[in-house]
Symmetry: C4
Subunit: 235 residues, 4 copies
């Protein structure tokens, strides 16, 4: 079942490695099928170079395994929380990529300093608060999803307009309109994190990109008046 | 028409990726044919790994499409402003390369600290001022070209002597006597930006290269008394 | 004799190069066979690209060559001290990898700032004190092993729970339940060193990961209640 | 003539690119034949990917072309000054490698902070003073050689014990007992420059490696009591 989506999720997981975002087993990508309400995700702790498409695990939104002989990623409950809250998401990626993780470890969000950021993220990329001891001891992976949702709500962020977040002391989660798009956004987040760090290192008084330039770049690529790419509204 | 130049522009665009200056669709190169006064440029938002030579778009200096079935790069009006002002340019490249973009986001030009810079850029590489809200809201891409020209004029820079600039909060534009040369200068700009950052990090009181050493290196490679390379005046 | 372990040690040495941890001859890996009490180690100063499996040297715990026509790595006495003290170790790796070595040169241990560190190292990664002149002049390589043991004892560290250390002014040693695992830990140490540096550069007041989050991540991967991976207690 | 040395010099030049020390035409390697007193060097401004072994240029110590149809590297007079002063040198390499050049631009030598440095360089790697206007205007390349010799003399350095130097505002020159060894030392210089920078960034009060540890590591690899590698005194 869902063979096409399995193939897409499988390839999106490999793409994490090819883009230099993941070593060993330090990441996972899932995809969501809105018709069946099933999620397909990487198995836990399996090496990327021996993983096969048939190792992908199908679970429902309660985390019950529907198909697959392996245990799903230990981060599966985090993915499920996000799909339940935001059914418009079609893919989620989690990595420990170097720069995004360093910002997460520093409990610091990523300020938009230029058009590279504005082309993909419509505003700052937030960092969640630290989880409490209770939140970590019980249902840790579910609570990771919940603190992401809490942060997006508090900052009134539409998840597809700022398609990624840093989980404090942990690392980035990104999402998108497909599993591949979630990986694409994971790569962009890594690049803009690196650029943001260097911008401030070059000029400690660097100012964020003006709002009107953020608007211009975001909306020339996204939404109904977009004119970047080959189709109206193409991304 | 202009099949040779199309091939050159196509390959110069791929070279941006091979040199590590561009990921995804984050760059573009154009070439200018002074006889026809036509410009050939990359199509908008097309992936480098599926792009073909026949996808290159031919436009005139007013931006009218002369040949090609795809939309030209959304940055085309910036290129056209520069070719109209400086007809000696034969190629222009735009990237979001890491270090040059970080300087642009920091609104900081690149000081020449050594002979690597002096071999290619005859003086500091400027950063433009921020565009105003009006300049961004209407004719943004044209105004990007105009602020480049304004900056070069104010600093009395001959564009082929300092073949690149940083657009504030955005990224680098470089140019040259051919599309390949524009890409070559984009790579050099990236390297000298990285070196300049590290020079100051090693020694916050680092001094610029003395003018006489800048002169020596620039003129041993460029102009009628050049003695670097295999031809008099060879670059 | 011990042909399987020779092959494993040989491949683990090559893996150091493939993982970007070693250039030229700047590293070595050994393996320990608890039945024979023999150690297999890389020969001294041999290039990785010409080295063959039969060049591996077999020594006993007193450093006597049991098999092999080449001299063993000059760091062999350090490895032997560690195997004698901690017979549960099955592999040891030494590198001059960039970030771990820079921390060692700075005489600075690596603070755990996030879950990437916690997934592998159950607490800070220590840096040994400087060796004294006497310790360097006589039996230098043995004393290198001894200062590692001294440091682990003083900090009450179980070596398989913090599978690596920095030797001051020198570089990292890592270990594990196999030669491959020692190399894996060398790679992880390098990554968490880089992340720790950047975390502090982003936020000089960055706080270590809370103990309860360190516990959670370490124990979800290691020990009898582990639930990461495909087997109970699988790493 | 000197066909073997030509081949060695040719390959050593290509090795600069493979080691990531040189892009475009930003480097050169020469070799010295003590019998004929001839020097073989890369031609000026020729791309590494089209260069052939027969393009190597043979010159005498006065810079007269003995064989070859191309102009020798514009830095040839610098190489010749060094071979004339130090006939024990058998190869010299010049690059604009990132970290070494950044230290040169900062007019800052490289302090030995650990054993990686001590394995190859017996003490700090100096940076020359700035050349004067007169020294640059006339005989620039000869004066570059002379300021290297002046610096080594003032600091009482035996060139084969500290096989490299930084020329202020310019970049590194390294040398050795063969052209390949000069390239090897160029790579090591780059790595120890990077490590030194990061050591100080991690700990601004980092202390140099103690003299007794510098001695230990240098002399276990070099000289008559060396015990690193497969031969007595092998490097």
């Amino acid at each position: 079942m869902l063979e096409t989506l399995k193939e897409i999720v499988f390839k999106a997981n490999l793409e994490l490695v090819q883009q230099g975002l993941v070593i060993y087993t330090w990441g996972n990508v899932s995809g969501y099928d809105p018709d069946s309400k099933y999620v397909i995700i990487k198995p836990s702790g399996v090496d990327y170079d021996t993983m096969k498409v048939e190792d992908m695990v199908v679970v429902d939104l309660d985390g019950q395994i529907i198909e697959g002989s392996m245990r799903p990623s230990s981060d599966t409950p985090t993915h499920l929380e996000l799909y339940k809250e935001y059914p418009s998401l079609r893919g989620i990626a989690h990595t420990h990529s170097m720069w995004a993780t360093s910002f997460a470890q520093a409990q610091t969000g990523i300020t938009p300093y230029g058009t590279t950021h504005a082309d993909y993220f419509y505003g700052p990329i937030p960092c969640t608060r630290e989880l409490t001891q209770d939140e970590v001891t019980s249902n840790y992976e579910i609570n990771t999803g919940r603190v992401i949702i809490e942060t997006l709500r508090q900052q009134a962020i539409q998840p597809l307009e700022v398609p990624g977040i840093l989980v404090g002391h942990h690392g980035p989660f990104t999402w998108g309109h497909s599993p591949e798009n979630a990986v694409h956004n994971a790569k962009v987040l890594e690049e803009v994190a690196k650029m943001a760090y260097r911008t401030v290192a070059i000029n400690p008084k660097a100012e964020p990109v003006p709002q009107y330039l953020l608007d211009k770049h975001y909306f020339r690529k996204h939404g109904k008046n977009a004119y970047y790419g080959q189709q109206k509204g193409d991304e």
